[in-house]
């Protein structure tokens, strides 16, 4: 069974980011890059499946510039068997990501695509859904539990409780934060990863993004609040501002 895990290179989600002065994007000088945390969870899940079932093969793929090798090497160190870098400096929107992955999936024929529900940089939460639609595959989004047997059983947390879905293979699963806690990278894993294959290939997608980034700016600084002395004062202040009738 082949599990494909797309991993995106994103700015360290804990870093304080600042927009470039001209508003064209984020200033990336000196910031660290990581695997998108949701993708790391997907990868962890795939590697756990492999540890339970040795016939599972885990392939990690990333779309982006040559620096994405760093995240793919990390994916190999965590336990992916091989990695593919679709090397491009083009800007991708979600439909293009889905299309690029569709080409790869037609070639690799994975049983499962396990991917983050969203990336912490753009927060789009749609590449997985778009990809499932393009492939016409069953999908389960926001997985909090995954069980791969003769079919995939996926538990997802909804507003009304836990929902468990059963999907035939091939299928697509997107991961939520509660699915698992990714492991620490073990140093011997990093050494082993050196001899694992990492293929680079050109992109297949020729379209261009349908959305255009107009401007990136910091949220306006929050104005200082006021301190009130009692509940009565609080109620009065809220009424004053029309928050309470």
């Amino acid at each position: 069974m082949l599990i494909l895990v797309p991993v995106k290179r994103v700015i360290d989600p804990y870093a304080k980011v600042r927009p470039l002065a001209d508003g064209s994007g984020i200033d990336t000088t000196g910031v660290k890059f990581e695997i998108n945390p949701f993708d790391e969870i997907a990868l962890e899940e795939a590697v756990r499946q492999k540890e339970k079932n040795p016939s599972v093969e885990v392939v990690a793929v990333s779309i982006g510039a040559s620096e994405c090798e760093e995240q793919l090497r990390k994916a190999l160190a965590i336990g992916a068997d091989r990695a593919i870098l679709i090397e491009t400096t083009n800007t991708y929107d979600s439909p293009m990501v889905a299309e690029e992955l569709r080409h790869l999936i037609e070639e690799l024929q994975p049983s499962v695509v396990l991917m983050g529900k969203q990336a912490t940089d753009d927060d789009n939460n749609q590449a997985g859904q778009m990809l499932a639609a393009k492939l016409d595959w069953p999908q389960a989004t926001f997985a909090s539990k995954v069980d791969l047997g003769s079919s995939a059983k996926v538990t997802r947390e909804t507003d009304s409780g836990e929902e468990t879905l059963e999907l035939p293979f091939p299928c697509l699963i997107t991961t939520d934060l509660r699915l698992n806690e990714p492991r620490y990278i073990a140093l011997p894993g990093i050494i082993k990863a050196r001899s694992k294959p990492l293929d680079r290939r050109p992109p297949k997608v020729t379209s261009t993004p349908k959305t255009r980034r107009v401007r990136v700016e910091s949220p306006p600084p929050r104005a200082a609040g006021i301190k009130v002395g009692s509940v009565d004062e609080l109620v009065a202040a809220l009424k004053d501002r029309g928050v309470l009738a």
Binding site: A186, P188, R194
Partner: protein, 522 residues
């Protein structure tokens, strides 16, 4: 080809030669950087979240952390693969150690078991000793300790009185070792004792050997989460095969463990400094007085700029030295004699690095506390702990005074050229001051200061040239400080006046801004 392999830049060469390139942390490969960030992640998530519990010495906590670190391959980075280590370089191991050392207490626990407790074995152990003990230590299953100091023998380590006698095919040890880190939870102690009260020798003592007890956990100013206690040996019986190296060669075990130990302690002292700078920089940007963040004030910026400069220089020195040590091990190591030679070659650079980094650590933590004002002194805030923990860095692995005596003395004994390369003001005045051959401690101490400043200035300068655009300000601010220190030391050593060169152009505000952006050292 000469039959004897030689180093391009042997120990002490920094004064008379300017290398084309030095190794800097920027040169670690991407795999190595991944290992370093794996260590940082472990440290931040597993260690920095349990500091109060560590300081309370919660039962089983430190050994559990060591075991977990061992499972990730962190307890034997530079120990050979055949003994469960990763067989990687000492320089990489030191950088990993730096990030495992964000908290001082855990730093000691980890630093000793992954470092000095294994080193004697790897350098001088027999095949059987290594195969038996090292896998237990590299896996984190066992914790190691190193027992040299005694109640009446500290700096004067060779005056130790712990005795060993061979009786009925067993070594019988008697004496008390004091200040032994990890004593509470260690399984293996490398113990220095005198055979028949004379021949200084090293032994591998297990906690469970008969006659071995641990007494009196010390109540220390800081490092409360690291165990420091006495190892009491009362007719302690250990197998004859647990002699490490040869009878009468204990000083080789002890002093070479110290050379590399000093190198590693240099990295250990940067970890807390890095963490403190992170907290202080965040605080300075958050705390507002007079209508603006205190980070904007010139005197606060000056503090961060000077911290960054001192950190930068120490870091430049440590990882330059580490690469040299790796090179020496690559050339000489193998036989016991070769191992000894490799561990000794850069002894003076190790000593200089120890003094420089532990004093940078002290300076940085004191200034971080000052930046945080009253909050800096509050125990709920992370700086107070660092302030208490950092104090011992200047005391163990040879006090900084002992290192200052050793440095100039060692330099002279190596017989390296005193002809300064003259590649800097400091190099030139150091060359002049070193011509005074004396045992007067004040002069020798000032000569040592000059030597370590010369090494630091050259390292900082070469790195700033190699890594264009990033470190000009850090270097400029460091060299201005170092020149003034060197002038003072020169005057102390020689009694002659010397004029300071014109200061390098530097931009304090820009360097402080670099610190604020990176949230720590630049």
């Amino acid at each position: 080809m000469p039959s004897e392999a030689t180093l391009l830049y042997p120990g002490g060469a920094f004064l008379s030669q300017t290398p084309d390139r030095i190794f800097t942390v920027e040169d670690f490969s991407s795999d190595e950087k991944m290992m370093i960030s794996a260590a940082e992640q472990f440290s931040r998530n597993e260690v920095m979240t349990v500091l109060d519990r560590l300081d309370a010495q919660e039962e089983g906590l430190s050994p559990a952390l060591i075991r977990k670190a061992g499972e990730l391959g962190l307890c034997g980075v530079d120990t050979a693969e055949e003994y469960g280590g990763l067989g990687l370089g000492k320089n990489l191991a030191a950088r990993i150690l730096e990030y495992m050392s964000l908290n001082g207490s855990f730093s000691v626990t980890y630093g000793i078991t992954s470092g000095i407790s294994q080193l004697g074995l790897t350098l001088f152990g027999t095949q059987e000793q290594k195969s038996h003990y090292l896998p237990l230590l590299t896996s984190g299953e066992w914790i190691g300790a190193y027992a040299l100091s005694e109640p009446n023998s500290g700096s004067d380590a060779l005056s130790a009185t712990t005795r060993a006698e061979l009786r009925n095919g067993k070594w019988v040890l008697n004496g008390t070792k004091m200040w032994i880190s990890n004593a509470k939870w260690a399984d293996l102690f490398v113990v220095l004792a005198k055979v028949d009260g004379e021949a200084f020798s090293a032994f591998l003592v297990e906690r469970d050997h008969p006659g071995v007890t641990i007494a009196r956990e010390e109540h220390k100013l800081g490092l409360k989460g690291s165990s420091t206690a006495r190892l009491v040996l009362e007719d302690a019986e250990i197998p004859e095969s647990n002699l490490l190296h040869e009878v009468g060669k204990g000083h080789q075990v002890a002093f070479n463990a110290l050379n590399i130990g000093r190198f590693k302690l240099s990295s250990m002292s940067l970890g807390p400094a890095r963490d403190a700078m992170g907290h202080a920089s965040a605080y300075a940007n958050d705390r507002r007085q007079f209508g603006q963040p205190i980070a904007n004030f010139g005197l606060v910026q000056k503090k961060f700029a000077e911290m960054a400069a001192r950190f930068y220089a120490a870091e430049s020195v440590i990882y330059r030295t580490g690469a040299l040590i790796d090179e020496a091990f690559g050339l000489f190591a193998g036989s016991v004699e070769g191992n000894r030679r490799a561990a000794e070659e850069f002894a003076l650079e190790c000593s200089g690095g120890k003094v420089l980094s532990t004093e940078a650590e002290a300076f940085i933590i004191v200034e971080c506390l000052q930046v945080c004002g009253g909050s800096g002194s509050a125990e709920e805030f992370p700086i107070a702990r660092h302030y208490r923990d950092a104090r011992v860095s200047r005391i163990y692995e040879g006090t900084n005074e002992i290192n200052r005596i050793f440095l100039a003395d060692r330099f002279r004994k190596r017989g390296v050229s005193l002809a300064a390369s003259g590649d800097s003001f400091i190099s030139e005045v150091t060359g002049r001051a070193m011509r005074i051959d004396t045992k007067d401690q004040v002069t020798v101490g000032a000569q040592s200061d000059l030597l370590l400043l010369a090494y630091a200035e050259q390292s900082a300068r070469l790195r700033s040239k190699q890594v264009a655009d990033k470190y000009q300000n850090a270097y400029a601010i460091f060299v201005n400080w170092a020149n003034a220190e060197a002038a003072r030391a020169f005057q102390t050593a020689t009694g002659e006046a010397v004029a300071l060169p014109a200061p390098e152009q530097s931009d304090i505000e820009a360097l402080a801004e670099q610190v604020y952006r990176s949230g720590g050292p630049v």
